[in-house]
Structures are given as structure tokens and as C-alpha cells.
Subunit: 451 residues, 2 copies
């Protein structure tokens, strides 16, 4: 029986015979009695197994090493006043798989750096054990949120022939060891996707509401705590929707995900709140209960100009790209909560964003949240063929590669909007984890490819 | 209001004022009355909009082209005895985005081959419109099945440093145009994953029950209807589970997915049943209601030897790799339903499969289904360090690359099993679609990389 089930039914199970399999977290024994703490993988809670002198294998039991896989048969004892609500008194303890003494996890606390070298073992350590279950829970939150509203999930391609945003360095995908790509597997240069947005737009112009959820890649040589070369992204796209509709969707999604995690992973969230980031639960609950403020980029610049001496980067002017310190100031000091900055200068944003009537700004939004900065970036897409075409020319883009994308504007194109959510960053935000290397199962970063 | 909602509430909506946005499927008008059929993306059902001479824009309405995006305001008319259960009588029809006359989809039937050249437009054609929604529904079926049972979803890496099975040709991932991989982005050779299995096993030895669901890649130069260079795979892994438990999980999953699709996409399934593969609904219902038979490879060979003259490949012997014709014969003629073949010769299976006591066969299973052949492949994994190590030596594998994988057998390893389901093939199976190029949004095959 899984421990998760036992927990739910503890009050009814007192005295029953039970059987569990799991891995030893700790084991200590005196001459008369021993205690093995086991986790069976079904939930964060461990089970304490009590074994006494009358156990035929009492001596061997005392020697079972940390990390071993064991099977325990015994009696369920309900302990409503104990630290745990139940324990198991063992009739038998069998070692299914022993654990050697050079096991990389010992009782002491290990650094995150040390753990990153052993991605095949670290899920068994508390922080990672909590984070990777939360990764699964948050994934399901995303799917449930969108599917419940009828959004169609689209698998946009990983290998692509066109560079989506013109932004970001790309990995080449090849079966050759030279650059004769015309003789390559696909007969031309191929690369890993940096975004599914352009590929998903045609589906929004068919199903109205769609989303992607898949891996994306950047070959950028940046060694920060927030950048990885491989990461998962969610890119919803909504037809017949303007920037305001887009922001409504973003806000509803963030709130839904927060509530889903608190509801479906309460033990893990309590762990993060106690050991990883004190106060994280209050902080995300506050976000889930706030009305997200909307403020134009232009207003934000006015606020920042007044206090520019506080910043490392004091050169505040309309047209600049905001740095993380500026974004955090806006959300933490000015708004004290989540805030959408909107209507950015077109020169610092992507070619596909809809140009506003002022011809200087675009209908874009970034969601900024306290202590993190940018969490989501979105925009209304340019649906006017001629405007989009001239924007691409202005930027010196090769129109022939994206003619299909332009053509969508001639074939029943309409007002539409979308956004991108970095899944790993959202996971960091919800848990308070500080390094993207600690929320991905096998993080890939420059010169770092373990297994 | 979305058409999906209107359908559900049709009986209560008679006479109400409504507003919809969508894309024109057909438009025909006489001098006094016109009919525009619109799909709004929310469901397979189209809506008929009736417009009459008193509409101020009656003449323009008659000229609205197929594919255009429109907004209609009007009166909802409940027609319980009509072909559709309701229609809308227009007060106004506005073109939001016109569609040029060179629109690639016209009223006539287009070939699949033609459609493959226009992946940005084809989702609007009936077959594709049905298939890509079903793709989303089947994805959610998978997630729901596993999450409901507490399986943890793991994002195994796309870029990897070790070739998982030693099987299958791989794509190189690089930022260079030569083969100096020690100076490459990751400081060594990197490739696209062919399977997440090895990477997910550590998580099964932590959470007990886990699954992957992500893209995988093969650089094989095969131009068949069932092979793509990029495809999605589901790879569950169960600790404390033997081959029989594994097969129980496979059987439950397949049945769950079939029922989920029938329940959540009834219109699309009816379309496939009528236009794509007559009888597909009965066939998959039969599978959902069958007890899957289990038969050893050795028994299968005995059956096949008796009828070997029927086959193109008549050379039937113990130790051979079964061809598709043999697999289909077993499931269609011998069993007349889904069948697990088990205990294959170890020489034709992967190194990580558990060697049986006969030392000749391994605890593997393939699920064969009528009219398709192999749908799922699974196995119990070799959990004995020494057996696995000698198997790797036998096969001349480089142990240093997979030492981490071997080490899992020293650190609380235990009996565990898993399987792989090709998502695209499952989608083909459920819908009766015959070519993998028609079930993927942007299929990638040799010398074929559109957008």
C-alpha cells in the first residue's frame, strides 16, 4: 500500500496488517529497539518503522544502510498525537537492494553545487525531492488550466528551419561534421527552436485558443542563475483577443497555478516555506489574491527618473531597456505587487508585435513580480500585412523565410495575442528556489552536460 | 459566445441575441437570402448564419470569401429538427480579416500530399482540424491517466551526452561547423535524445512511479508512413514492478486513452469513423473491452512456423526479429485482438532488459494490435549490477559513459520496469490515420523541413 493512501486513511487503519516498499532515509537501533525511516516515493511524508528484539532479523536490520530499498511487513499503528500520525511495527524487514557505503548522500547537509554533479542521485535529497514533484504538479496545473477552457495543446516543432524571433543564438542540428548543409539530413540548415510562437499562430487562427508546452533552446554563453541552454516554455495564443484580453489570461493563469500548487503539493510547499525561502507561501498567496496593476512603460520611466540615483544603472531615459533592478523597483516599491508594464518602445521589442497608433510603441506587456522581476512577456501580434511587411524590411529581415507567416495575414488573419511563460522560472518563483540548475532534472548550461 | 457553449445550451437559448467570431467555411447567396457557414474553433460543429435582404450589408455579405475571419451579431434560433440544432439569423456581419483569392484551400477535396506543403493552412481542413484537436485530447488523456495515479512527470533532457540505447542514429547538436567538439558549447559532443528511459530511471528509484512525455529524435534515413525524425514519446517507469505489473499498466493506459478520446472528442471520432477509417470506433472499443492476451515469443514462433508459407518473409526461426507481417498475423489471426508478446531472445533486445533464468531470453514485452502491429515496447530492467555489467561488456559498450546508470544498481536499486509508447503512432491507431506526416503539426522527415 502506498504511504499516501495510508496517510489519507490513517484513522481507519489502526491495527491492520500492511506492506510497504521504499528507500531508507535513516536507521538507528539500540540493543532492544530500532527505527527505520522510509520514504516510498508516493508523498513527501516519511514513515517510521519500529522494529524490536523479537524480529528474527533484528541484528541485520540494524545494519541496513541509508539509501537501501526495503520491503516491510507489519502492523499499522495510528498515533494521532505523535509527530507523524502513524507508524508501522515490523513483522519482517527485507532488503530488496542494498546501498553501498560510498553512497553520495549522507546525513549531513550537502551544498547545491555538490548535488549538481550527481543528478541521478539528488532527487532523493529533500529539496530536490520536493522540487521535482512540484515540477510535475505545476505542469499539470498548466495543462488543466488551459484544457478546462478548451485551449488546444499544439506540439510545435523542436527542429526548425526558421529562426523565430531573430533573437537569441541557436544550436545547429546536423548529421554532418562540416557546414555543407545542402547535403545534410534535411537538405538545409536546421536548428533547435528558440520559441514555438510563430509556429503556433496558425493554430490560433484555426482553433481560436491554443497553447504550446515544450522545450526551447538558447545557445547563449550566459552563466547566470536564471539562464539555461534548455528550458521548457508555455506559449498560449488567443485569436480575436487584444492585449487587454491577453493580460486577463496571464493573470488568471498565474493565479490558477499558484492555487493549484498550494492545493496539490501542500507538504512540499510547507517545506520550501520553512527551509528554502521563508515566507514564500504568503508571498504567492498575496499574488493570487491581488488585482494585477497595469502601467505603461512611459509611466514607469517617469517613476524611475525620480529615483534614478538609487540604481547601479542611473541612466534612465525613454527608449531604454529596463534592467532587473528597475523592474524590481517598480513591482516592489511603486506597486508592491505584480504589475504589467505595457506599450514598450517598438525599437526594443520583437518585429511581430502590433504597432500602436503613436507609431512609437507596441502593444506588448511584461509581467513583473516582486523579488523576481519579469515572469511573462506577451503582446498583441501585428495582424496588418503591410505594417508587418514594412517592419520586417526596416529590420533587414529575409522576407522569403517568413512569407508563410506573412501570408497568415492575407488568409483570414485577425486580431490576436499571446505570451510566453518560462516554465522553469515560474517553478523558481513558486518555490523560492534561486538557481535554475536546481529546478531542472538535468540542467544544460555552457560547458555543462552531465549524462 | 463560443459555439461549443451554444451547442450545450441550445434548448435554452432560442431567441437570444448572440455574437460570434470565426472563419468562413462556405458562403452562398441568392438574391433574397444567404447562408454563411462558420467555424469558430471551439468545436468541430459549424454554425449556419442566415442573412436576408434587409441586412444593410447584404450585397457585401454575399461576397465574403472562404477563409475570411468574420464577426456576426444576430438572433439564436433553436432548430431541434434541423440538421444542426441551431442557426443564427444575422443582424450584422463584419469582416475582421479578408481572405485573398489565392487561398490554398478551396471547396474541392485536396490530397494529403498537397496539404503537407502548407502546414500553416491545413489545420483548417476537416481531417486536420479533427486530428490536431484529437492530438491535444490524447495528450491530456495521458497526463490525466498518470497524474491521477500519482505518477510524477519528469522532463528528461533533450540534449544529451550519452546515446541511450546504443540504437538509432543521432542528430548532433552543435554551435560549430566542424567536429572540434571539445571546443564546442558543452565542451564535448552533444546529441538529441533518442529515449528518455535511462534518464528517467533514477526518478523511478525515488518516486516509485514516474513518466516522461516529450520529443525524441532519430536521424534514420527511412521514408515510411510510420517513421518521423521528430516524434513524441511517453516513457513510464515503475519501481517495485515486474514485467507483469508493467503489462497491467500498459493495458490500463491504452484502455483509458481510448475511452477518454471517445468521451472528449465524440464529433472528431465520428468524423474519422465516417471519412478516414470506417469502423475505427468499433475496433478501438473492442480493444478497450478486451482482456489483452499474453503469449511468449517462443509460442508465437511455434504458431508462425505452422503457417510460414503465407508470409513474404518465410524464414521463421527462434531468434529472428519478427516483421510487421508476422506481428499482424499473431494479433489478427491467432488472437484476434491485442496481445503482449513476451520473453524475447536477448540478442535482439536492448542491453538494459532483465535476463531471464534461462539465460537466453529477456523479460521484455511488445504490445501488438490488429491492423497496426507493435504499439508499445516494454521490459523489466536488469537490476543486478554484475549481470548488467557483463551484458554491457558482451556488447562492447563503453562502461565509463554509463557508470552512473550502473551505479543506480549499487545505491538502493530494486526490481523495476517500464515501457515506451510512441505518441504519434498511438494517435494514428486511435484515429485510423495512415501516415505519421498527417498527425504531426510540422512533420520532420529526411530532406523535409517545412518552416
Amino acid at each position: 500500500m502506498l504511504v499516501k493512501k495510508m496517510k489519507e486513511q490513517a484513522a481507519q487503519m489502526d491495527g491492520q496488517k500492511v506492506e510497504i516498499q521504499g528507500w531508507v532515509r535513516t536507521n538507528r537501533a539500540s540493543k532492544k529497539i530500532g527505527f527505520i525511516v522510509i520514504n516510498d516515493g508516493s508523498c513527501f511524508t516519511n514513515v517510521q518503522v519500529v522494529y524490536e528484539q523479537d524480529l528474527p532479523t533484528f541484528e541485520q536490520a540494524g545494519k541496513i544502510t541509508l539509501g537501501s530499498a526495503v520491503e516491510v511487513k507489519g502492523t499499522f499503528v495510528y498515533t494521532p498525537n505523535g509527530k507523524q500520525s502513524f507508524e508501522i511495527h515490523a513483522d519482517s524487514i527485507e532488503v530488496l537492494g542494498a546501498c553501498d557505503h560510498d553512497y553520495p548522500i549522507q546525513k549531513k547537509r550537502h551544498s547545491f553545487e555538490y548535488m549538481r554533479e550527481i543528478p541521478h542521485i539528488r532527487p532523493r535529497a529533500n529539496s530536490y525531492y520536493a522540487i521535482f514533484r512540484l515540477r510535475s504538479v505545476l505542469s499539470m496545473a498548466i495543462h488543466t488550466f488551459f484544457q478546462d477552457q478548451g485551449f488546444v495543446y499544439v506540439h510545435t516543432p523542436i527542429i526548425t528551419g526558421n529562426d523565430a524571433e531573430g533573437a537569441g543564438e541557436c544550436f545547429t542540428v546536423t548529421t554532418r561534421s562540416d557546414d555543407k548543409y545542402d547535403k545534410d539530413f534535411f537538405g538545409k540548415h536546421a536548428q533547435l527552436t528558440v520559441s514555438g510562437q510563430l509556429h503556433v499562430e496558425p493554430f490560433a487562427l484555426t482553433y481560436r485558443n491554443v497553447y504550446t508546452f515544450g522545450p526551447t533552446f538558447r545557445a547563449e554563453n550566459s552563466n547566470t542563475t536564471r539562464h539555461a541552454s534548455e528550458f521548457w516554455m508555455i506559449e498560449p495564443e488567443l485569436a480575436f483577443a487584444d492585449l487587454s484580453d491577453d493580460m486577463d489570461c496571464i493573470e488568471a493563469m498565474i493565479k490558477y497555478c499558484i492555487n493549484y500548487c498550494l492545493e496539490h503539493a501542500p507538504e512540499e510547499m510547507a517545506f520550501f516555506n520553512q527551509y528554502v525561502d521563508k515566507g514564500v507561501i504568503d508571498r504567492i498567496k498575496h499574488v493570487a489574491n491581488s488585482k494585477f496593476v497595469r502601467m505603461t512603460y512611459t509611466e514607469a520611466i517617469e517613476h524611475l527618473e525620480k529615483v534614478k540615483d538609487q540604481f547601479e544603472n542611473k541612466d534612465i531615459y525613454w527608449g531604454m531597456d529596463l534592467q532587473s533592478e528597475h523592474e524590481r523597483y517598480i513591482s516592489e516599491k511603486i506597486v508592491n505587487g505584480p504589475v504589467f508594464l505595457t506599450d514598450y518602445p517598438k525599437d526594443i521589442k520583437a518585429f511581430y508585435m502590433r504597432v500602436n497608433d503613436d507609431n512609437k510603441t507596441v502593444a506588448a506587456c511584461d509581467l513583473l513580480v516582486p523579488y523576481v522581476g519579469e515572469l511573462v512577456g506577451g503582446s498583441q501580434r501585428e495582424e496588418r500585412y503591410d505594417v508587418l511587411e514594412s517592419r520586417m524590411k526596416e529590420l533587414g529581415m529575409d522576407q522569403s523565410i517568413l512569407q508563410w507567416y506573412l501570408d497568415l495575414r492575407r488568409f483570414g488573419g485577425c486580431k490576436h495575442s499571446g505570451f510566453g511563460l518560462g516554465f522553469d522560472r515560474m517553478l523558481m518563483y513558486v518555490t523560492g528556489m534561486q538557481n535554475i540548475r536546481d529546478v531542472e532534472p538535468y540542467p544544460r548550461t555552457p560547458r555543462n552536460l552531465i549524462f
